[in-house]
Amino acid sequence: MSSTEVRAGRLGRGHGLARAAQVALTMWLVLTLNFLLPRLMPGDPLAELDNPQGLPTPLSPEARERIRSYYGLERPLGEQYRAYLTGLARGDLGWSLSYNAPVARVLAGRLRWTLALVGVATALYLALGVVLGAASAWRRGALLDRALLVGSAVSGSVPAFFLALLLILLLGVRLRWLPLGGAQSVALLGAPWPRRAADIARHMVLPVLALVLTNVGDVAYVARNALAQVLGEGFITVARAKGLPERALLWRHALPNALLPVVSLAALRLGAVVMGAMLVEVAFAYPGMGQAIYQASMARDYPLLQGAFLVTMLTTMGANLLADALYGALDPRLRGGR
């Protein structure tokens, strides 16, 4: 992602209320698309239910009836739509074919794994990116700066799930340092919490590493350019003339002013990071939303797929709105809706 894009992304953000209204409109469109897609498909979306070969697991007649009544295809479209929306408002996401359980219950256990993965990875790649970018901007043109530039280009070019495979092969299979996949060891489920926490953390290292390595380059690049620009401004020269130590100059005066583009970039990237996390989850068999979507699509479990999609989408858009609010709070020029 280039610095021009980051700036253009910022241009595109209006002030709070208009932005919230726009996100609400988008969410409604997404919900409606989610409703229409299975119904626009040629034929009966539930035709698979009656086909004994269509599903990997046979369904009981009651489960089949439950799915039929959830979709309610024999009713008029408007009524189906109303039922869909009221169902969503009550947290009813439908019935999963492959799990034979409510979609909401299947997904409830999974969202936290994805949130943990994306949260930890985001915090780490932002922090690391800013530090690397600062080091790079401070020694502009030096060997470190050039190496980081090439490194950041490579970092943004490796597909996350390919890097995941390489990490599994190197750190998991070859060196046997870390587990190959999953989120925790079954053997430790009943263990006291410090051991379980350590186990969960160990399982998280590789997926987080894959996400951090593929995202840190962009942040470092944007942070470097923002910082280099700030360092060239008048107030830095004044601060230097006052005799402030260089270290204070960089961390106290220049860096806070260079963080805005980084926040903006983080918001812009969020969708890509979530998508990267989905692929990484599949590569590591990590039990999050991405793996749910993958399994659902393999098993043609459309209700589960749609539920997982909706939860992912709404969470991402909500987080994006939050990042926007943070941006507004950080930039004094945007305060007061000017």
Partner: protein, 281 residues
């Protein structure tokens, strides 16, 4: 203008490396039918290690992997170029027109905003799960979701250009709106549009690989993403050396082409953003 673009790419050391890498990939794609050791999709002994007859071995179906890789270059680069070119052209024209015609522009920008606030890859996953797209549908998807980001960035640039004094002067001597859009605003947006074109290509290559990996591509296409995801689904991949000639080459091919495009972008960034060039001097 084109000359300036070329100079920006060739003049910058890193961008030059990118250009050469890209040229290599393009040659491989163009000459694929002649370079490939075997006709596409012929079956040999499955899972044979690299040999003189099969420099990259064969996969579990007995396809020669070097031939697959070359055919994949063709598919992946064609799809990426076609999708990126279409969305860039569409986005550039719409963005420029939006900057000139205020009312039309307002409406267009609201549409753009809606598109941009949807995480587009997630949406593609949902649609792909229902539609199971072939190459044509995939191309349509990428254009549908690609043009808004081009339009947004081109709009901002054209708007700034439209406020400059020479446009006012052109209007004063009686140039038509159409002439101003096509002769002045549009050309001014070319470097930025080109940067977006490269970013879109990169996005398409990675997204196609990602969709394939999620099991949502067309299993019969020969693309890098499909070869890679097919390899990654092979149960014994981790415990046998086959990953070295099955998964590694397409993965590296994707990485290298994306790297080439990123390096080009770094060079272009300095052209479109003179402040960057000044900082690095």
């Amino acid at each position: 203008m084109l000359l300036a673009l070329w100079r920006a790419c060739w003049g910058d050391g890193l961008a030059r490396v990118g250009l050469l890498l890209l040229a290599l990939a393009l040659c491989a794609a163009l000459l694929a039918p002649w370079l490939a050791p075997h006709p596409s999709r012929t079956m040999f002994d499955p899972l044979s290690p690299p040999s003189a007859a099969h420099p990259l071995g064969t996969n579990d179906l007995g396809y020669d992997l070097l031939s697959e890789l070359l055919a994949g270059a063709r598919t992946s680069l064609t799809l990426a170029t076609a999708a990126a070119l279409s969305s860039t052209l569409l986005g550039t024209v719409l963005g420029t027109v939006a900057a000139y015609h205020r009312r039309l522009g307002w409406a267009l920008l609201r549409v753009v905003d809606v598109f941009l606030s949807v995480p587009r890859l997630a949406l593609m996953v949902l649609v792909a799960a229902f539609v199971r797209p072939g190459m044509g549908t995939l191309l349509g998807f990428f254009v549908l979701f690609g043009w808004p980001s081009v339009a947004r960035i081109v709009y901002a640039r054209a708007l700034a250009e439209g406020q400059s004094e020479y446009i006012e002067a052109t209007q004063a001597v009686g140039a038509s709106g159409r002439r101003i859009v096509w002769r002045h605003l549009l050309p001014a947006t070319v470097p930025l549009a080109f940067t977006r074109f490269i970013a879109e290509m990169q996005h398409v290559i990675v997204a196609e690989a990602g969709l394939s990996f999620m099991g949502l591509g067309d299993p019969t296409t020969q693309s890098w993403g499909m070869t890679l995801s097919h390899a990654m689904r092979y149960p014994a991949l981790l415990i046998s050396p086959v990953w070295r000639w099955w998964a590694l080459p397409p993965g590296l091919a994707i990485t290298l082409v994306c790297l080439a495009l990123t390096l080009l972008q770094l060079g272009l960034d300095r052209l479109t953003d003179p402040r960057l060039a000044a900082m690095n001097r």
